[in-house]
């Protein structure tokens, strides 16, 4: 196999072990593989929250994720990059997002993974709505997230 970029926006869950193996098997020259998984949490949600609904802008989402990965590739020497983001109904503790990056050395892989997540949170057209027994409530964007993507040189 050789280095790849994988972008997927999907309703179904992803298998962490399988995604890890795909990245690991993609080459023998990279000494670092950094993964991140985002989960649905019950913190800062009301008690009656049963999960989330994730909406997106289908024509734009994969385009933006590709641009973010290309920007990361221009900044660091990366091997394979995989970004998976789920949409639709999710329950507490479900997996939302997977970002996996390989590189020859760990620093590039750590930095690129964080960079991709920081930009995904402020640029990629996804919106979360809490689903509760009293009704649904849209989640507001955090100023701290907007600041994080601005902090990258």
């Amino acid at each position: 196999m050789s280095h790849f970029t994988q972008i997927s926006v999907q309703i179904q869950d992803f298998d962490f072990a399988y995604q890890y193996k795909k990245l690991r098997d993609s080459n023998n020259s990279d000494g670092a593989l950094v993964t991140f998984v985002g989960l649905v949490r019950d913190m800062n949600l009301q008690q009656s929250v049963s999960g989330l609904f994730l909406e997106h802008y289908p024509a734009m989402t994969e385009k933006v994720l590709n641009e973010i990965v290309e920007t990361a590739r221009a900044k660091w020497h990366l091997g394979s990059v995989s970004v998976i983001h789920r949409v639709g109904h999710l329950k507490v503790s479900d997996q939302i997002v997977f970002v996996g990056v390989t590189s020859q050395h760990r620093q590039s892989a750590f930095h690129a993974n964080e960079f991709i997540m920081d930009y995904l949170k402020t640029q990629a057209p996804f919106w979360k709505k809490e689903t509760t027994t009293q009704g649904d409530k849209w989640i507001e964007a955090k100023v701290s997230d907007m600041q994080k993507s601005k902090d990258w040189p």
Binding site: G38, L54, E55, H56, Y57, A59, M60, K63, V64, H85, I96, V97, M117, L120, K121, T122, Q123, A124, P125, F126, W127, K128, K129, W138, I139, E140, A141, M146
Partner: protein, 86 residues
């Protein structure tokens, strides 16, 4: 015709996810995002509040952009709140 899309909370409060409008309005061309935004804000209180500059981001042909962007007939313009994925 301009194709206009709305997402997230904005879509819910204005009860609209898609509309098409003529790029010529009252004999003048809606040639920037700013002019289109102003016109849409006149459609009601919720439109005025939730489409306000700074409250709704804008993408033209699936690219995040700013209000001084020039728009052309058949462009796809999307308005939405700051994103909350990840």
């Amino acid at each position: 015709m301009l194709k206009i899309l709305f997402f997230g909370q904005l879509k819910d409060v204005i009860k609209t996810e898609y509309l098409e409008i003529d790029i010529i309005q009252n004999g003048k061309q809606l040639n920037t995002v700013a002019k289109l935004r102003s016109l849409l804000q006149e459609k009601g209180n919720a439109w005025n509040e939730y489409l306000a500059y700074g409250k709704a981001l804008v993408a033209v042909n699936q690219e995040l952009t700013s209000d001084d962007t020039v728009i052309n007939d058949a462009d796809e313009v999307a308005f939405f709140p700051p994103v909350t994925g990840g």
